[in-house]
């Protein structure tokens, strides 16, 4: 299809389009927005994660009577897609190091985003995560902007994680002081030298309660009022996704009732946090794809009681990133102590085995099974009846594992769920 047609199709949507981008959480954020606004308006939504211009085009073609376009887009593709479809709102969640072989350096992506935002229609909304110093000032000068963030010291980390990005002041280069670090380099920062600091929050999460793998709840504080929101998704990273989704939904015209109800009934998107029944056992899929995201998954698992058996699957297809260096920047070490057996799988299973060996795990506890079907069968078989096998796959490994489970009748394909 002619890429120029994307703009033409998008401009036919009576309510316009919203575009969401981020390194982590864009699929989940878009799916949350769909849960909030989808009852009232018919959406053109690339829900299965096809987030390049071709995926946006397919979603537009597949829903010719839609009212509103809702698109998650790849970080690198955001400027081009935003330029073509002229969205009435954009939501920018975070930038973490991810697939440097494909995307390049964070600063360069942020600069391209900045230019793209400056070229949006003057009345378009910019929704941005104020806790990310790389993005916080992207809405400066925009007439319509919403800045969201977390405001709760009780869930802050005592220090930045290893290999945190963007920890030096964008203006003067001095290291930021963090009053609170929440996820990676996201937090309440200020520069001791030039005083650049997190902007004030328009939408905030306060009084956050994390309940292990079962979910979380928090006070959603907005200009329109405060609501207690419950999520069935674990971890602080999903609180950020919910904040992004709530902020974007509000500027798209949703009310607080819709936001509260939509988030409460939302279940995870596609392999991000998915339970599959396998006879009298369950399999829990938690997608990992870069250090910041994987660190949050590890943190959530440890908070919930670290598992004694674990399957980790690392592929190196283009969609995973061909460079597997990133696994050495993940803080897997908190998982090592309680582990009785680690199953490593995928096309780079051997590299994972090394990562855990040098992370302190006795190699005798590592089962090396590169074939995903074999690894899944072995992992399930070794799980006690009634128990759960936790699986951390990279993107294409997640797709393959869902396919294997589906062929065994363990999981319904995602498109059936989407229609249901």
């Amino acid at each position: 299809m002619d890429p120029g047609a994307v703009g033409k199709l998008a401009r036919r949507l009576p309510l316009g389009s919203a575009v969401i981008s981020a390194t982590n959480g864009k699929t989940t954020t878009a799916a949350m927005v769909a849960a909030i606004v989808g009852d009232r308006v018919k959406l053109a939504h690339n829900r299965a994660g096809a987030n390049l211009v071709s995926g946006v085009a397919s979603a537009l073609l597949a829903s010719d009577r839609a009212d509103l376009g809702l698109f998650e887009v790849d970080e690198g593709a955001f400027p081009d897609i935003a330029g073509r479809i002229r969205p009435q709102a954009v939501c920018l969640g975070n930038l973490f190091r991810d697939q440097l072989d494909r995307y390049g350096e964070l600063e360069h992506i942020a600069e391209r985003w900045r230019t793209a935002v400056a070229e949006l229609d003057p009345a378009a909304w910019t929704v941005v995560n104020a806790d990310d110093p790389l993005l916080a000032d992207i809405a400066r000068g925009r007439a319509e902007a919403v800045r969201f963030g977390i405001d709760d010291l009780s869930v802050a980390r005592d220090r930045l994680p290893h290999a945190a990005d963007s920890k030096y002041c964008r203006t003067c280069g001095a290291p930021y002081d963090y009053a609170a670090a929440y996820v990676g380099h996201l937090g309440d920062y200020s520069c001791p030298r030039c005083r650049e600091a997190r902007p004030s929050l328009d939408v905030a999460a306060r009084a956050i309660e994390l309940s292990g793998l079962e979910g979380s709840s928090f006070d959603l504080v907005t200009p329109e009022g405060t609501r207690r929101v419950s999520l069935s998704l674990p971890g602080l990273y999903n609180v950020y996704n919910a904040l992004a989704a709530a902020s974007l939904s509000l500027v798209l015209g949703a009310g607080l009732d819709d936001v509260e109800a939509g988030l409460a009934r939302f279940r995870a998107a596609f392999g991000r946090f998915e339970r599959i029944a396998a006879g009298d056992r369950t399999v829990l899929l938690l997608l990992v794809k870069n250090p910041a995201g994987a660190n949050e998954v590890v943190r959530t698992l440890v908070d919930a009681g670290a598992p004694v058996r674990l399957l980790v699957a690392l592929n190196d297809a283009i969609a995973d990133g061909r460079d597997v260096s990133w696994i050495w920047d993940v803080d897997f070490e908190p998982l090592v102590g309680p582990l009785q057996e680690l199953v490593v799988s995928g096309s780079r299973a051997q590299e994972l085995a090394l990562r855990f060996k040098y992370g302190g795990l006795d190699p005798a506890k590592i089962a090396l099974l590169p074939d995903l079907a074999e690894a899944l069968a072995y992992g399930v078989e070794g799980t006690l009846p009634g128990g759960e096998l936790v699986v951390l796959p990279t993107y294409t490994a997640m797709l393959a594992l869902r396919q294997i489970a589906s062929e065994q009748g363990l999981v319904r394909p995602y498109w059936e769920e989407a229609v249901a």
Binding site: E107, K167, S325, I327, E351, L354, R355, Y358
Partner: protein
């Protein structure tokens, strides 16, 4: 037995999982009863004569490299002296570039390096990204291989007669043209092979540990062999990737 490792600017230069290389040096020392004392060397901290047996410097984003470059220039003479006195050194990616004589950016401006390694780097247009396989000959021994991943826009050119780390079997190497990768002077090794280079190439880790211990003991140590089956398996996959899809123009 003790070994002091100095890691330069870990807060700034850590973009390619340099921690993996440090973990390998630590574990492989510990498994042999060698007590590795890991120290960081940050902005404004002096490199004292004789303090370190082994140095490490990784790569960063352009912005972070610019933040540390003036400080590294000030440390340059002490680092050159340390290597001349027998210290080992592993410099990866951006750190490798900064150890050369200069880096010339796209505008033609030159950023001086510390001249520890006999090379210079010129910014190029296309990045050289992909799996790499090298063949190396160290100390007149049998050829050995290194498998890794490269991602760099800089083209590095060795001075006449300078010794590369290895010959490129697959991949781009220093500049995509002359078929060499990295650079080596005494116990100092510079390379574009980033991230988990040492885990899947443990012979290079052991070579660095041996060089560092030689400085301390005055003679080469006998290092106990370790069970490296997983390392060999990971390297075999990495080498196969380089052969099937290593970078080329």
């Amino acid at each position: 037995m003790k070994l002091v490792v100095g890691h330069l600017y870990p807060e700034y230069l850590n973009i390619y999982a340099d921690r993996g290389n440090i973990a390998v040096l630590e574990r492989r020392s510990a498994w042999r009863g060698i007590d590795l004392d890991y120290r960081t060397i940050g902005l404004g901290e002096a490199v004292l004569p004789g303090e370190h047996d082994l140095f490490y410097v990784g790569g960063g984003q352009d912005r972070e490299q610019a933040l540390i470059a003036p400080d590294l220039a000030a440390k340059g003479p002490a680092l050159v002296e340390a290597v001349e006195a027998g210290a080992a050194f592993l410099a990866v990616c951006g750190g490798y570039q900064l150890l050369g004589r200069f880096y010339r950016d796209r505008s033609g401006a030159e950023l001086p390096g510390i001249g520890l390694l006999p090379h210079h780097t010129v910014a190029g247009e296309r990045r050289m990204i992909g799996d790499v396989l090298l063949e190396c000959e160290f100390d007149g021994g049998a050829p050995r291989t290194l498998a890794g991943f490269e991602n760099h826009a800089g083209r590095t050119y060795l001075d006449e007669g300078a010794e590369p780390l290895g010959r490129v079997v697959s991949g781009f190497g220093n500049n995509g043209k002359d078929g060499f990768e990295g650079c080596r002077v005494a116990g100092a090794v510079g390379t574009y092979l980033h991230g988990p280079l040492l885990p899947r190439n443990p012979w290079l880790a052991d070579w660095l540990i041996a060089r560092a211990l030689t400085r301390r003991l005055g003679e080469p140590p006998e290092l106990d062999p370790l069970g490296d089956e997983l390392e060999a398996a990971a390297k075999a996959v990495s080498a196969e990737r380089a052969r099937s899809r290593g970078g080329r123009f």
